[in-house]
Symmetry: C2
Subunit: 338 residues, 2 copies
């Protein structure tokens, strides 16, 4: 194991044993629609509140990842999971029935990166044979939590993003025989505050943290953008991507062709009216489990830097005029084998 | 390293390099008043909002732990931290200036246990030489978040607890020469829901999770209450303690003399009008850093099971009539040496 300033390179990289993604109707109509394991047509997921709907989404996605991997639930030693809601209620209520020791995480939309950072340390450190990493978001719970009642039919500026209804769940473990995607390294982010105050422009708030984590990854691994087939941020969207590319260009890195963003992949903003792109911790988590990991497992992409990005704000901090600091956690995912 | 079902016993236990506690005026007037490193008389901590006050509290406590341990801030590789507020805004804003890679945690009032679980795995796994674990709460931010505006002067039932204004911060590392308190084991909790719905009786909501984690610890380490000098829960208070002791008694364990609770230690409920006791993640964190760790370092207590307890609810889940599931994380802290 090698340690960089904020990075770990694993000698025996944890592997992806199984993954699952479930999304809502709108996400199912987007460009990645056919890649998700399940598209739920009922945004209430059969529940009677939005929050219970998101809890149900987490539970169903966890169960599906366990089923797809032919894994026994009780063999999963730790669950690293989170969502966007105050006091993590989607996760708290969604995971009771799993009966797995839980580390509740909050990294805003970076949560899947945080979960994979911690989960891979737990495996590589010998503390577990199998762990689950999971994150979810739901359009309606997020709008209710952060913005306006849906009934207002509020207008949205073009810089705003659309919170994804979706969940991604990964089971990490030690060994796998074929189709191997492994987490070969991690770069843990820190809070970065550049003074952005516009909650309708989260891409701008998160871009500096993505820049910081990608630059830190390059420094720690002594590599540049040519080392990766893809560098994939979480939910910067159109505005955030432009800022990230500008920042990187100033440091001599051209990310134009190697970079994409889960928020840009999941919706067709022209036809789906999603403005800057998708967002929410379910965005990067569901795109990871449907689009990114299969391409690494097949070998189409040999090495990917996955960088979920989070904007840390609450209605309280926003209404008190505070800035929106960001955080981004990097995960190096590689195809191992032929 | 030995693994139990939900526990780890470390071969090379991470040690407490330094710790600090800062509390508010009311906590300073309680039975542990003289043990805290600092008692701030201004509950606003010089800030202009309650949330900024709590962020300032976190920043000051982190700085103090670093200073007391004569540690360089940049040598701390990871920060495991959290608070009670929606989207962890006390932590997010409080830790920007630390510039330490951050894992944001939410385990309600169990957060210090979660942070010590993960922090000690990071050290014992060889991923870091030094990490910080920290948790805070503030009476006024918590009341605003979860209950009623302070100006209402709302009456409180006797089963309710009083959220502690306080923060505790621990720096964990690999080696120390004297006064050694080490984390020799951890037991990670899972969500436990016994159907309690009364947000003014959090002790009852958390007691089943404390019971579950303590029982799991006994099973995994093949010990009973006689193994520990003290078993110290987080913030069960009077009501929760009674329930825990009853549950344990039914399993043949008498915890009457070995058990105490941070929420019962921090206030004198007779004279301080705090009803069932103190609560909040700053309660167990500040009591750990002022009262528990010094006694282990001095050898007065040889072995302690520290079990911070959390009740997972939000105003949304409560108003939707949901139950209050609980979680508790166990940390075995031992005096090493003479």
């Amino acid at each position: 194991m090698q340690l960089g300033k904020a990075s770990v390179k694993f000698e025996e990289p944890p592997v992806i044993l199984s993954m699952a993604s479930i999304v809502g109707k709108k996400e199912g109509e987007g460009p990645l629609g056919k890649m998700f394991d399940m598209v739920e047509q009922d945004d209430m997921f059969g529940a009677d509140t939005w929050e219970k709907a998101e809890s149900t989404l987490q539970k169903q996605t966890a169960d599906l990842a366990i089923e797809k991997g032919d894994i026994r639930r009780k063999d999963i030693r730790y669950l690293f999971a989170g969502d966007l809601l105050g006091q993590l209620i989607a996760t708290s209520f969604g995971t009771v029935d799993l009966e797995i020791p839980l580390f509740g995480l909050f990294g805003a939309c970076s949560t899947m990166g945080e979960a994979l950072n911690l989960g891979s340390m737990a495996i590589a450190g010998g503390f577990a044979d199998k762990v689950m990493a999971m994150a979810s978001s739901h359009f309606a719970t997020a709008e209710k939590q952060f913005r306006f009642p849906l009934g207002y039919g509020n207008q949205r500026p073009y810089s705003s993003s659309w919170t994804v209804t979706g969940c991604g769940s990964v089971v990490l473990g030690k060994h796998k025989k074929e189709g191997i995607a492994a987490i070969t390294g991690i770069t843990t982010g820190r809070m970065v505050d550049m003074g952005i105050r516009d909650s309708m422009n989260m891409g701008a708030a998160m871009a500096p943290s993505a820049f910081h984590t990608i630059q830190q990854n390059f420094d720690d691994f002594q590599v540049d953008e040519s080392y990766y087939d893809k560098i994939i941020t979480g939910d910067l969207g159109k505005v955030g991507r432009t800022i990230l590319l500008d920042f990187m260009k100033n440091k001599g890195h051209n990310l134009e062709s190697v970079h994409t963003d889960c928020g840009l992949e999941i919706f067709d903003s022209e036809t789906q009216d999603t403005h800057a792109g998708g967002s929410g911790c379910g965005c990067s988590a569901s795109v990871l489990c449907s689009y990114i990991l299969p391409k690494v497992q097949s070998g189409e992409w040999k090495r990917v830097l996955f960088v979920p990005t989070g904007a840390l704000l609450s209605t309280v901090s926003f209404n008190e005029g505070e800035t929106i600091p960001g955080i981004a956690h990097g995960v190096v995912i590689e195809h191992i084998g032929n």
